[in-house]
Every structure is written in structure tokens, then in C-alpha cells.
Amino acid sequence: MTMRRRMFLGLAAGTTLAGCGYRSVDAEYSQPPGAVPAKYGNRVRVVFWTSYGGANGKAVDKLVAKFNDSQQDVYVEVQFQGSYDDVAQKVAAALVAKQAPDLAILSDVTWERFFLNDALEPLNSYFTDGFGPAVFQQKLFGEYVVKGQSWAVPFARSTPILYYNKDAFAKAGLPDRAPRTWSELRSWGPELSKVQSGGRSLRTLALAKVDGDWQFQGNVWQFGGAYSKGLDVTIDQDGAVAAGEWQRQMVHVDKLAYMAHSPSTDFANGLVAMMQESTGGLKSMTSKAKFPVGAGFIPSEVASGLATGGGGIGMMRNISTERKQAAATFLTFLALPENSAFWTTQTGYLPVVNAARENPDLKKLIAEQPNFGVAIAQLTNARQQDAIRLYGRNANVAIYTGLQQIYADNTAVKKVFGSVAKRLEAIGDEVKRLYEEKVL
């Protein structure tokens, strides 16, 4: 009796409240507001939410301006929304408010949640000769393909690369290249410590306080482990623990590495000799640093292998057919080799279009500044991340807060990863049903 009453009350409350919101999978939602310049007045407007600021943001603006001037039917409006996380939050909030951008930048760990919950438009039907599987770099394109259907296309895709300070290396008497293995990197530490910077001895390696779990994904593979096999968590097993233990010793035994609030700020200011950072920051780092910046492959150890990352573009499902077609026109434009190459030369991100590699501007840039070719050459070692980080909501946060405990408190790696594994298992359980239904 009470159970029934409770259920009734729950349902009643539920239906009353449900009346006020939630997304309906097939409804057409309005566009976020904005102003259309008079000269583009009679076109179909496409709203594109991005997360690129600074030099990268300017490059997006240039591409979009070029698109708007290249044809007469579509007007794309860029709306910068903050970080990858910010874009994801705002898209989710917009959908609840029955509003939808047409295109949005979704990161390596956010597009999956929109895909699993039917918020993305499947893209296969928009593919043409100039926009489709044959055009894009196979690996990067394939990461968005589930059961033969594409749910986003690669755009600002990256791998981490090893940045090093060439001046510091010269002062320490080291060769002008990135270390080949983590052991070699460690053995260079004492030499680098003799170099003075900002009144103290130079540190060897900066480890990111936030989001360092992306770089660490590759490190785990390099030490022979994995975050998970499918959704089965393995971060508390040998290889992953070895990678964590190597970093723990670098920080607390050798005192060569440290946790940095912003590795790239410290690196640009010459406080640290090396860091693992996205190739997408190459252009701005090159102009920010007051010393020649070196770049090389991420070191290997017992194995090589590193994680791809960065942003792709998803099309929202809750928009009109007209807007979808218009949005697809813009995606087709971005898939032109010269546009993909332009993006790479302006940022450092990978060329996601195969033919972009033959672009003369890009070839010239790589000849002059070989750093821009590092990630491209390294791509053969790159692969898609372990499923738990991709599909488990906040799995990344669980992992990097675990890493913080190792970096900050010298907590035993086995213990930290043991409790991280428990959290990851709980996170995995949350998405298991949808993952098995839609991905496997």
C-alpha cells in the first residue's frame, strides 16, 4: 500500500515536473541568439560553439570568415564558449532549455556522452567525395565511428609531444634532441639540475596538476599497462603502477619532477626543462618562450604508444534539416586540404585531412620548423584511449586527482591506484548498459 502510494506520488511529481523540461530526442530546437551581419542577411545561419581562444581562436575565425565569403547560402557564426568542459556543460544546458547550437567542439572525453544519449546527428548521410572516410586521416576519423556510423569528425586533433628547452639542454651539455626513453630522461636530470634558472636549479620535468591523465594514458602504455580493457579497469595492475611509480620517484626520490599548476607557463618562463604537452600548443609556445623550443617524440620505455586527444566537431540532432544541411556544408569546407593545412600551420594541431600533408605551406613550415612535423611523424605510434577514460563520465578527474596524491603527498602508487580503480569501476557501472547497447 505504502509502496504504491509512494510510487504514485513519485510518478505524479515526475510527470508534473517533467512537463517543464528535458530533451525530446527528435524535437527541433531553436538556435542560440546572435547577430547576423547585414551582408549575410538572407542565408541559413549556423551556430558553431568552440573552445579555442588566443592564436587558435584567431585561426578558427579566419577559417570561418573564409567560408562565409566563399559561398552565398550559409552564414557560420562562431561562439567561443570556454574550455572543452565548458562547451559540454553549455550544450547540455542548452538542450534542456530547448535550444541547440548546430555544431559544437567536443573533446576526446565529452563527445561520447552526447553520442550515448542520442544528442548527436549521425553523419554518414552527409558524406560526399570531398567529405568522408577517404578524405580524413584514418585513425583520427575512425575514433568517431561506432558500428559503421560516424558521430563527429576530427578537427583539432592532437597527441602529446615532448617539449624541451634547447638553451637549457646546451648549457647542461646534453644532445639537442628529446630523450628516447624515460630512463634516459631520468639520467639527464642531474645535468639539468646544474643549470640555474630564476635563482634555483632547473627542474627536469613538469607534471600537470589538472588533466595530466591524458599524457599519463600514454605513459601507462609505455610502461606496459592500461587504464582498462574495455570497461574492465586495470589501472591498479603492473604496467600502470610502474608508470606511476616512475613518476613518484622522479618527484620524491630524485626531486627532478614536480606538479605544476600550468606546465606550459613554467616551461615558457624557463623554470623547467621538459614537459609533455599537446602539439596544439606548439604555435603559441614557439612565440611565447624566450628560448628556442625543441620538440620530440614522447619517450618510450618497455613499449611505445601514446594517446590521441583534442577536439572533434559534432552536429546536434535537435536542429532542423535545413540547419543540418548548412552545417554539413561548413564541415565539407573544413575538410578541404588547404583549410586543414592552414589550421595546422596556425596552431600545431595534426592535419586531419590526408591530402593536407602535401600542402606546400605546411611542407614549407615543417622544413623550416621541424617541430611542426613531430606529431605527424609520431602519429603511427598513437592510438585511441582506453574505454574507461573515454566513456566513463569523470573517469579523467578520478585519475588525475589520484595522480595529484602521488605528486603532492608521496602516497604509495599501489594504494592510490587501488582506490582510483574502485572509483573507475563505479563510474564504469554507470555507463555499462548504454556502452554495451551502443558501442559493443
Binding site: 510518478l11 530533451r23 568542459d85 538542450l95 552526447f114 544519449n117 606538479m259 599548476h261 569523470n394 586527482t401
Partner: protein, 317 residues
């Protein structure tokens, strides 16, 4: 038919008059209610839409499992509550929140009171000092956090320049589980004491002088006069500051978000940060709503208890 069944007889005119007065009164009352409704409506509607409705909706969400993208929340009853209340991570968060709030509340009141006494002395330039002490209170939390993040930085921070000449190694404030929380407490105190001092100062200046003078004549020393007269007289001020600081600190978010992000590990994960983390990073609307309700209940209880306890002690007039 007996006389008893007869209606009470009144003069027809009287009856009309009475009915008229009734109607009149009723009409007037109705009009007053109408006016009342009209006057409170704008505020009531705004409060209902932006305060009460979200609370009710939040309570509903706490009974669901919803990732904010799925078309429908799933009703799960009290599962979120049982799971949260039995989660060791939640217990730790609660403990951190209590320590954090306690330190800031006690610190704000004690330092604020001391400053208020200082500002009350006829010293040169006290106007400027008062303004400077109060200024941090009106600064945006994000800006304050950015400045302090720089000051705390062990590599190029201001505190390094202060601590190193003393021969000590500055702690890596925000990157150490032992120092991150004290660091945050320092920042919030810096931001809050000016406000507490200002309110205390107003209280001090409003104190009746006769009691103090009488005590002085009777030979009470400064300390006794502070302890036995001024402090009790300031009790209503203390009470006000206690409640506002507890509520404000419990909900502190901005500085934590910019400076530590709840870390390192979970060393500075307070209740408000974990609500954000569950809600807007993990998209677990149900669990974030549950944490919000728990926070709401805690604050309600704390405020009620404080009000009850203080009711008996506060009044001196």
C-alpha cells in the same frame, strides 16, 4: 411550531444596515487583500521562480538518476541518499567542509573584532586603513584567487620573497595536501575580515558609553571591561556575523575553483566543490542534487540551532 423555531427578529432597517456593514467590511478586506497581493506579487513571483522552484525541482532531481543529456531522468527513490551517506569520500568531504568553515568563521570573528578595536582608536590615517581592509571583500573571488595563486607560487611567488630571507623553505602551498587547505583559509580570511571588522566597528560605535564608564569608575580594567561588558553587548553583531559567515563559507566556491580545483587529490574538496564536480563535470544531476539538499539541511539545522541558542543570550535591551 414553537417560538424557539422562529428566527431572531430584528428590525428590517437594522438588518439592512448590518448586511451593508458586513458587505462593506468584506469588500474592504477583499480590496486590501487584492492590494496586498498586488504589492507582494512582483517579489513573490521572482522569489518563487528563482528560489523556491529550483529548490523543489532540485529535491525532485535528488530522487532520480539523470545525466543531463538523456531525454528522461530515471526515478530511483532514495538510492542517491543511501549511496551518498554511506560513501567514505562524502564523509571526508563533510569533514573538510567543517574544518574549513570552522577555521574561517572563528578567524573572521576574532581577527575582525581585533581590527575593529584598532580602527576605533583615534589613530592617524585610519580611514585609509579601514578602506584597505574592507576592499578585498568587494573584489571578485576569481580575481582574488588569481592574485593569491601568484603569491603562493613557490617558484616566483611573493611569499617566497618574504619567507626565504628568514632562512625557511616556503611550502608549495597549493600543491601540497597539508598546505592547500590552510592556504585557502588564509585567502578567505583576507577576503572576509574587513567585512567582519566593519560590522564590529559599527557595533562598537553604537555601544552605550555609560556602562563602560561606570565600570571604569568602579575600577574594572580594560580586559574586564572588554570581556564583561563590550563583548556581551556585541553579541547581536557576533550572532549576525556567525550566521552569515557560516552560510557564506559553506557555499564558498570561486577561490577553490580557481586555486585548487578541490585538490591536490581531495584535500580541498568541500561540499560545494563536490556539488559542482558531480553536477557539471560528471553530469550526475541526481547526485549533485542530493548533495545540495544535504547542504541545505545542514545549513538549516545550524542556523536554527544558532538562532535558538542565541535567542536566550543575545538580548540586552
Amino acid at each position: 411550531m414553537t417560538a424557539l423555531d422562529l428566527p431572531v427578529r430584528t428590525h428590517p432597517d437594522e438588518r439592512v444596515l448590518a448586511g451593508d456593514a458586513d458587505n462593506h467590511r468584506r469588500r474592504r478586506r477583499r480590496r486590501e487583500y487584492g492590494l496586498f497581493a498586488l504589492l507582494v506579487a512582483p517579489n513573490l513571483i521572482v522569489i518563487a521562480v528563482f528560489a523556491y522552484w529550483p529548490i523543489i525541482y532540485n529535491a525532485f532531481l535528488s530522487l532520480t538518476d539523470w545525466n543531463m543529456i538523456a531525454a528522461r531522468p530515471t526515478f530511483v527513490g532514495l538510492a542517491n541518499y543511501t549511496r551518498t551517506l554511506s560513501d567514505p569520500a562524502f564523509h571526508k568531504t563533510l569533514w573538510i567542509t567543517i574544518v574549513f568553515t570552522g577555521l574561517i568563521v572563528v578567524g573572521s570573528l576574532v581577527i575582525g573584532l581585533a581590527l575593529a578595536f584598532l580602527f576605533n582608536l583615534p589613530l592617524k590615517g585610519r580611514g585609509a586603513v579601514r578602506t584597505m581592509a574592507f576592499a578585498p571583500h568587494v573584489l571578485s573571488g576569481a580575481a582574488v584567487a588569481t592574485i593569491w595563486a601568484f603569491m603562493f607560487d613557490p617558484g616566483y611567488g611573493l611569499l617566497r620573497a618574504l619567507i626565504e630571507p628568514l632562512g625557511a623553505e616556503p611550502p608549495d602551498w597549493m600543491n601540497s595536501s597539508d598546505w592547500a587547505l590552510p592556504g585557502l583559509v588564509i585567502v578567505y580570511l583576507w577576503k572576509n575580515v574587513g567585512f567582519a571588522a566593519l560590522i564590529y566597528l559599527a557595533g562598537l560605535q553604537g555601544l552605550p558609553k555609560d556602562l563602560d564608564e561606570a565600570a571604569a569608575i568602579d575600577g574594572a580594567n580594560t580586559w574586564t571591561r572588554f570581556w564583561a561588558i563590550k563583548l556581551p553587548l556585541l553579541a547581536p553583531i557576533t550572532f549576525f556575523l556567525l550566521i552569515t559567515t557560516v552560510i557564506g563559507t559553506f557555499q564558498a566556491f570561486d577561490v577553490i575553483a580557481v586555486m585548487t580545483g578541490g585538490g591536490p587529490g581531495d584535500a580541498t574538496t568541500t561540499l560545494s566543490w563536490s556539488i559542482y564536480n558531480e553536477g557539471f563535470k560528471a553530469f550526475n544531476a541526481g547526485r549533485a542534487a542530493t548533495l545540495s539538499i544535504i547542504m541545505f539541511v545542514i545549513l538549516l539545522v545550524v542556523t536554527t540551532v544558532q538562532a535558538r541558542v542565541m535567542e536566550r543570550r543575545v538580548h540586552y535591551r
